[in-house]
Symmetry: C2
DNA sequence: TTGAAAGCGCTAACAG
DNA sequence: CTGTTAGCGCTTTCAA
């Protein structure tokens, strides 16, 4: 079936060791031999047997990605970044979609044993404590994306900063009566974004009022969904109509904001004239909805995550690297200001280094 | 590092052959021995080395998925189906995201050689003729999803039927002046959907008028995107205002329809009162937009595709199996009729069979 | 039913 | 610089 290095060796009149060396760019082969062998390889269109290589070299050249399943733009865009970079480096990606905690653990186990993968990317979920010791002991490279664990490399966006920026922006536009629509406070992003909102208010000397934050944690994704946003906005409009109505609202995610915009429309409340809106994430839809929002550089997060995994492989014993992206405010039409981008995205804590061929 | 069958053998006081047999449910081992070995395996939490198994058995237990990259709900939902089924069967999925033809071919090559995968799923692209012979000769199982090639298993939706249903529905609602918004006719779905639209018109004795179909193939995905829909609708509204304006429009995809809805709103044209709209696909957003549309059973397509690949592995020489899904009309609010589902989805040409453990 | 032994195709250490 | 050899961990004959 397949053609092996033995075939090449015979054909080129050399030993299999030499063949292997040529194929792997090992320095100690004469230019002459190398050329000869490579020529034969090309002629017979030789392809190495991936699993034999992996068995012998103890490297799988494959990463696994464990993702809470992704009817969600955030993951798609991040994954796109991961995939593009992996493709450049000739790395295979195994996709593990997760619907519940048990499944996540199953895939962690699967990734951990059997030499299947050289590293794992774990997305947006609390990393199970029961696997901490196992990963440490196995020294299997791991990067946690959009979540945090002190013991492992992680990569996330400064939610607090982003929320602060968004709220500040609303304040700078003259709003004093600013509401917030949030998702379940059991999730870290929701908590951090609330915190940022509070801080910005405090900075400006505006008293925080829990009455002005509406939390709907219904449905999927802990309330980070369109219906929740829709309901929350209805609730907010209902609550505050007449006296003291919020003139602006910061919403914890774009999907929710999309729903909220819909609710506003139904109530005949104009955006931004009657109420200014700022979201969070900058998913594709945000552009179409002309939503002012806080941009997470998702694609870049993906490429960086991949790179972090590679760096970790090269240097398994370095201290955990926690990189953060500072999100940027993207001003469109739902806030009533001049469109544009405010702060620029930057990340810290990691060297990108050269692509290792 | 890893614990191997040698460890198990020693611990259980048997030979490695026996261990292997126990682990693989080979019939000829005594119940007693099997239990003993399995107990030891569990105790030491043994995990087989995937690559060693794959090298020795010449099976990779992995499929590759080659997907034109997926900022597109269709793929995500199909992939979700594929992934869920694969996970049930313990099969790994390699994700190859493709941005251009050259890349697609690179991944085909990569899949073809080196024993990396047992089968490949190729999505929504014309299968390159230059690889036909190679796949036939290698007998590497292949299923083409959302596209067609006579030589290989394929799985697609009856676009023509779906478009016909959509148009018929509009006709049944009393519309006679029905427009269509389409994407690039270079793509098969666009052509087939146009054809279905024409046929339904013809059935009802309504003359087809190319003036009433607007094609925007700008931007990504051959015009299957939101902006294109937005532009097309503007164009349609501009063209027909005053005399003879279309009272209904069939749109070739939901993403486009979402854009179109936006354009209508901007023009102050009410949906469905002033113009009825039917889309195609039934992506998540369609539900939120209350869009009447033609549903492609994407998740089910994913699970079926995976199953087809497995069937093909079991029976490498059977004639190509071409399965089709009949899409169903989902009636929501943009068409002005009573909500509900009209025809039911069914597929033909394949036995699902039992999951092979 | 079981143990021993021969590969699967490759890498890497060891002699030349 | 190059050929030979010993594994990598598992499956699968082949005898026993």
């Amino acid at each position: 079936m397949g053609i092996t290095i033995y075939d090449l060796a015979r054909e080129a009149g050399v030993g299999i060791g030499t063949v292997s060396r040529c194929l792997n760019n090992h320095p100690s082969v004469s230019a002459k031999t190398r050329e000869k062998v490579l020529a034969v390889a090309k002629r017979l269109s030789y392809q190495p047997h991936a699993h034999a290589q992996r068995l012998a070299s103890k490297k799988s050249n494959t990463f696994s990605t464990i993702i809470p399943f992704f009817t969600n733009y955030f993951f798609i865009e991040v994954l796109q970044g991961v995939q593009d970079r992996a493709s450049e480096l000739g790395i295979d990606l195994i996709l593990y979609g997760v619907n519940n905690t048990a499944q996540a653990e199953y895939y962690l186990r699967r990734s951990l044993h059997g030499g299947r993968v050289d590293g794992v990317m774990f997305f947006s979920m609390k990393f199970p404590e029961s696997y901490v010791a196992k990963f440490e002991q196995m020294k299997l490279p791991l990067v946690i994306v959009d979540a945090y664990h002190e013991k492992f490399d992680s990569l996330l966006v400064k939610n607090l900063e982003g929320a602060k920026q968004a709220t500040r922006h609303l304040i700078s536009l003259g709003h004093r009566n600013i509401g917030m629509i949030n998702a379940s406070l059991e999730t870290t992003p929701a908590r951090e974004r609330l915190e940022g909102y509070k801080l910005a208010l405090a900075e400006a000397g505006i008293p925080f009022d829990m009455e002005k934050v509406v939390i709907t944690s219904n449905g999927k994704q802990d309330g980070f969904n369109r219906e929740a946003g829709y309901e929350s906005m209805k609730e907010m409009l209902r609550r505050g109509f007449g006296r003291n109505r919020a003139t602006a609202v910061f919403i914890a995610s774009d999907v929710q904001a999309i729903g909220a915009l819909e609710a506003a429309r139904e109530f005949g409340v104009r955006v931004p004239e009657d109420i200014a809106v700022v979201g969070f994430d900058d998913i594709e839809l945000a552009k179409h909805a002309q939503l002012t929002t806080v941009r997470q550089p998702m694609y870049e997060m993906g490429t960086l995550a991949l790179q972090m995994l590679i760096n970790r492989m090269k240097n398994p014993c370095a201290a955990p690297n926690h990189s953060t992206f500072l999100p940027e405010l993207v001003i469109r039409k739902t806030c009533g200001a001049q469109p544009g981008v405010v702060s620029s995205s930057l990340h810290s804590g990691i060297e990108l280094g050269e692509p290792s061929s």
